[in-house]
């Protein structure tokens, strides 16, 4: 019994020590982040009132009393949403195609040379660690304001993220088909095309679809830095306090994202089913 008590006591100490460490870290962090409970308590009532205010029109009526007035810019916003979706699509596709080429160069089991693999890995890491919006800011300088900068930022980030995932998929393939093709004297790219690619294609597609979901969200905020899409109108509405416009655009984005999510998950389940059959 004494031994049990001692063991419980030591574990309690352990837990207490960890809690103390976490609390100390939070305290230090809150000093650095200028947290002020007073300011928070004084202003917190503004959070619910801001959210509620979003659902009132300029004339003080709730938005659902006049849907036409709420969605007064429907045509423009639908066009911008379509542009956002196209940005995500083009960015994802360009990034995924580039990533699927790089994946074979960066996978440990099939890479033609060690130094190529290392260079490819580092490159992918750089592309996915630098945030999309930073790329977008840089591309806006180079390509001017507009959706092209956003597409390229999405593509670069997708290249980094998918390059890593795809390389891991390639590392898990069965090497026998590749060896078989190589043994007939085929060149490296032929061996990859007929030995490796058929094994990984459905996985690639599945990851790319998942990435497309993420990129739709990413493309929706590209407009914050002037890189096209619906984000431009959203940030303008937030900055200029066009409350009902903010809620209208947010509702449209949320619905679009939900539709895209369910469509892609449907497609992905079909793809996984296909893989099971093979």
């Amino acid at each position: 019994m004494a031994a049990y008590d001692a063991s419980v006591r030591s574990r309690r100490w352990h837990t207490l020590l960890m809690v103390a460490c976490v609390a100390a870290a939070m305290l230090l962090a809150s000093i650095s982040a200028e947290v002020s409970p007073v300011k928070f308590l004084e202003n917190i009532h503004r959070f619910p009132s801001y959210i509620i205010r979003l659902f009132y029109l300029e004339n003080g009526q709730p938005v659902w009393t006049d849907i036409g007035e709420w969605f007064w810019g429907l045509n423009r916003w639908l066009r911008l949403l379509w542009e956002t979706l196209l940005m995500a699509y083009v960015g994802t596709l360009l990034g995924a195609v580039a990533a699927s080429c790089l994946a074979f160069l960066g996978a440990a089991n099939v890479a033609p040379a060690r130094w190529i693999r290392l260079v490819v890995r580092r490159f992918c890491e750089l592309c996915r660690t630098v945030p999309e919006l930073v790329f977008a800011l840089l591309f806006v300088i180079a390509f001017g304001l507009g959706p092209m900068a956003g597409v390229l930022a999405v593509a670069i980030h997708t290249l980094g993220a998918l390059g890593k995932l795809f390389a891991e998929v390639v590392e898990n393939i069965d090497m026998k088909p590749v060896e078989g093709v190589s043994s007939t004297g085929a060149a490296w790219h032929v061996a990859m095309r007929f030995g490796a690619l058929p094994q990984v294609l459905s996985n690639f597609a599945s990851y790319a679809l998942l990435r497309f979901e993420i990129n739709v969200r990413g493309a929706a905020v590209m407009g914050f830095v002037g890189a096209g899409g619906i984000g431009q109108d959203l940030i303008e509405a937030i900055r200029k306090f066009y409350y009902s416009d903010v809620s209208a655009i947010l509702v449209m984005i949320l619905i679009t994202v939900a539709i895209i999510d369910s469509l892609t998950s449907l497609l992905r389940h079909r793809l996984i089913g296909l893989e099971g059959k093979n």
Binding site: V22, A25, M26, L28, A29, S30, I31, S32, A33, E34, V35, S36, K39, F40, N43, I44, R46, F47, Y50, I51, E83, L86, M87, Y89, V90, L93, L126, T129, V130, P131, L133, V134, L137, L138, F139, I141, A142, F143, G144, G146, P147, M148, V151, R217, A220, V221, F224, V225, G228, L234, I235, I238, R239, L250, I253, L254, V257, A258
Partner: protein, 278 residues
């Protein structure tokens, strides 16, 4: 070769009928890609001149140079602030998300309506981008890192709530039954039956999110919510490209360091085998 070709003619047909759907999908994707590129202005001639300017910009970014010692110190402080924002947001989100996760878990909350409401609200929170949360919180507590920490907290409550509820649902039922059989109530069952089992999984998810939040925290400064993003956006907008690359380099090093520390902690916590579920 001709004999082989004669014996297996079906393997030498270039387009078997079973490949038609595949080709149709690929063609449709290509058409959509070209249409998208056309809509987004890829063929307006800006692409080539932009690429030229991009190379020029990349050249101007080297070598990374903060400009002056004072700049370097300001960036260092901003980076500490960024990490503080990420830490504070992640930890407070984890604390707040635990009860919500319990409410959304099937094996804890019997009432279907409570569960449904908890899940829907988590979904809604998750669908709103972190930058939009930052803009909303700026309206509440003003510009600065506090708004950033609150933004990360809000958006992470959505993610953690979902992940936690899934981890709780995956927990073994038997400890709870054991506690109930000794006369323990529902609350006792959760406290001593479920929480000890899922706690390491939750901690590893929190650590994982801390990494990714450090990346998010670097960009919320772009909309004015504190951290290094403000300096970064300013350096890019004023074309101080050497400072830009210096800041990006600092971010990369910090993110890599945090990756290292948190993965060490994760391994220490759950052992090398246990991965993050979900």
């Amino acid at each position: 070769m001709d004999a082989v070709r004669e014996r297996y003619p079906e393997h030498f047909k270039r387009l078997g009928p079973q490949r038609l759907p595949m080709i149709a999908v690929a063609t449709a994707m290509l058409v959509l890609l070209l249409y998208g590129m056309q809509v987004l202005g890829f063929f307006d001639g800006k692409l080539l001149s932009g690429m030229g300017r991009l190379v020029e910009i990349a050249g101007l970014m080297l070598p990374p140079d903060p400009g002056s010692w004072a700049h370097a110190r300001a960036y260092g402080m901003a980076l500490i602030e960024t990490v503080a924002i990420a830490l504070l947001g992640t930890l407070s989100a984890a604390i707040l998300a635990l009860p919500v996760g319990l409410l959304a878990a099937r094996n804890v909350t019997a009432q279907r309506i409570v569960r449904f409401l908890a899940r829907r609200s988590l979904d809604t929170i998750r669908s709103v981008d972190i930058l939009i949360w930052a803009l909303i919180w700026i309206n509440v507590v003003g510009l600065g890192p506090f708004a950033g920490a609150l933004a990360i907290m809000t958006s992470d409550i959505g993610s953690f709530g979902k992940l936690f509820s899934e981890a709780i649902e995956a927990a073994d039922r038997k400890p709870v039954e054991g506690i109930t059989s000794t006369g323990g109530g529902h609350f006792m069952g959760i406290r001593f039956g479920i929480l000890p089992e899922v706690f390491p999984v939750l901690v590893s998810q929190v650590l994982y999110y801390f990494e990714s939040n450090t990346r998010s925290a670097t960009i919320i400064g772009i909309v004015g919510a504190g951290g290094i993003g403000l300096h970064l956006a300013e350096a890019i907008r004023t074309l101080e490209l050497q400072q830009t690359s210096f800041i990006i380099l600092m971010i990369l090093v910090t993110v890599a360091a945090i990756d290292l520390v948190s993965s060490q902690l994760r391994f220490a916590m759950i052992g090398r085998r246990g991965g993050v579920s979900g």
